[in-house]
Symmetry: C2
Subunit: 346 residues, 2 copies
DNA sequence: ACTATTAATGCAAACATTTGCCCAAAAATT
DNA sequence: AATTTTTGGGCAAATGTTTGCATTAATAGT
């Protein structure tokens, strides 16, 4: 049972059958204005019933348009990223683009390698969330110098200006912390993310700024920096926080996983959330509404971020007018979602 | 400021510079045995420092190998699928393949359209999870008849045999239910998924079989069929379940979202889980360990499923010996993870 | 009726790479 | 020294589509 490689029907075949030239077929298929409706119909009908399919590779080769965009994310199976990707794919599909996705696994080496590959594949643009390891941005600068449209999201290069979509992490953190203050917290701790990443630094700064702005004391032992904001790490942090004396009355966590661990540990210790300790998370992961008490958090607009990134990228790819734009920055509004974990009866 | 489309360096350029023929360059780059180490080194060095990049499109065009595999999932932003995709990407990358991902949004029409596109793109194989709407499998049969390697996972065609990776949903559900029985439940209800989908039918059957096997009565009003097993639907179901008289002492849910809603509602009503009602979910989503009480569930091997699918697909693509295989089915072992929601003190 | 347009199609080159086959030089074998 | 084998490369075709330019046919304008 051999693999019968039935050679596919080409434009030439179609041309021969219909007594037309390949160019006409090509144009008819592309709905070119100079082809009559009659022939267009003829061609598309014959194409349909003969099972013809346009060889996209050959097409790309000749036209230099691959209709593909590359995406690099740290990992696909993180809620935030999978939602961003979903937004990107959605938007791209509607514009006739498809997405090629790679995971850097937060490795600098992988990131460089993938960018190379993507360039070889002649993607028309790239959407990137930086690997955590990435401290050196030379490869990105070089990439951008090739004039290939690139848009960053979430974790973006810090040493130079470029296209990016972010949320205002500083402000969001400020608002989250302010919210805790307004419900009466005076002794607020922060579970922070990896400080080598800009967004987590910004969240920490937002927390600090809010305290300062309300003249609350800033204490170093109220800041707990984690490596990756995992649920596990959150548990460890929570234990340490419980040793604090006096016990804090509010916790602002840089993501929902650590906030969830905080809730979990407090529940276990019979410390009432939100009455004794109020909690605010970040990102509005699915767990946020499921957990008991449900979690006050920041909607970080993952899907919209993906859509915005795709939209921006495609504009840069297609629209000549965008050539004069050196770089473009879009900051999405976030939203404080108040739930039980910070709603006090009083 | 015009977009300076600096024409990339080609193999020909390299050939000219080094006084070699394009074929030699091509072969040197591909590490062809008939090229001397000396020239290979020469070529790769020159290529490196001149910033040469092999045009993958042209290469694919000529060689008919795109090194790409297409993935169709209902949606990317569902834990299960994002984990499967992660597994696929990982495995594919290691073998030099890249993945092109589309979301069918559970639409039959989209699914057909995407398959067409993917064929045009000349992917070397596809990994597909069927759209919920898909009842007619003609397009899939046609696809497979083209001899393009295809592997299905999770939701797979039911009317004909084909390559697939699944878990044993029936058995897993049986085990889950049996577990409830063994801890003393005698009155177990089931929150079921959409019955037009095979895996959810299988889970229901597994539930039934377990009851039968332990001579427990089977009651129609103990089966709650949902449309999409969403958290919201779960809440509605939970309310209905609470109206049952007598109150059930065990609930087996076809996924963790609905299990979570069940827990949530019972908590609210101060009905003790697991003492009064024990709960088992399915899939081991992140919430499963975070929720209070933590959730007994079935590890559905999402990542491994992705890896297995990619591995199988790539074998079929590369290995001649696989030509005589008509179809291949791999069923992964699942694992019952016992947590608090089904651990009774007694 | 004759030219000027317009509409519809064809010609042929070009795209960058791979690959079957051929060839020359060098090495090995008589 | 003559022949065979091996080694390292080159030639040129082929891949399927697109596109600038040329060409023909049809229509309109005078």
């Amino acid at each position: 049972m051999k693999r019968k490689k039935t050679t596919p029907i080409t434009i030439k075949d179609l041309a021969k059958e219909l007594n037309l030239s390949p160019s006409t077929i090509s144009r008819a298929l592309a709905d070119h204005p100079k082809i009559s409706q009659a022939t267009k119909k003829l061609v598309s009908e014959r194409a349909e019933q003969s099972g013809f399919r346009l060889n996209a590779i050959a097409s790309s080769f000749r036209s230099k348009k691959t209709k593909s965009i590359g995406i690099i994310v740290p990992r696909i199976d993180i809620d935030f990223h999978s939602r961003v990707i979903s937004g990107i794919e959605d938007c791209a599909y509607k514009s006739g683009y498809h997405v090629i996705i790679f995971q850097s696994k937060d490795s600098y080496k992988m990131e460089k390698e993938i960018i190379q590959n993507l360039q070889n594949m002649m993607v028309e643009g790239m959407i990137i969330c930086l690997a955590m390891e990435t401290k050196n941005f030379d490869h990105l600068k070089k990439l951008i110098k090739t004039k290939l449209p690139v848009v960053f999201y979430d974790r973006t290069p810090e040493t130079f200006d470029t296209n990016k979509i972010t949320i205002n992490d500083f402000e969001s953190a400020f608002n989250a912390t302010e919210h805790l203050i307004k419900i009466g917290c005076k002794n607020i701790v922060h579970i922070a993310g990896n400080q080598s990443t800009g967004i987590f630094r910004a969240r920490l700064e937002g927390y600090k700024a809010a305290l300062k702005s309300y003249h609350l004391p800033l204490r170093d032992d109220h800041i707990f920096v984690t490596h990756s904001l995992s649920y596990q790490e959150g548990l460890t942090c929570a234990e340490k926080i419980l040793e604090l004396n006096p016990l804090p009355d509010g916790v602002f966590c840089a993501n929902d996983y650590t906030a969830a661990s905080m809730v979990k540990v407090l529940n276990k210790r019979k410390i009432n959330v939100p009455e004794q300790v109020a909690i605010v998370g970040f990102s509005d992961y699915p767990i946020a509404q499921i957990i008991e008490p449900s979690l006050t958090t920041i909607n970080d607009r993952a899907v919209q971020m993906g859509e915005a990134a795709a939209k921006m990228l495609i504009q840069h790819i297609q629209d000549q007018d965008f050539d004069i734009i050196d770089h473009q920055v879009i900051t999405l509004k976030t939203e404080l979602i108040v739930r039980e974990s910070s709603t006090r009866k009083a």
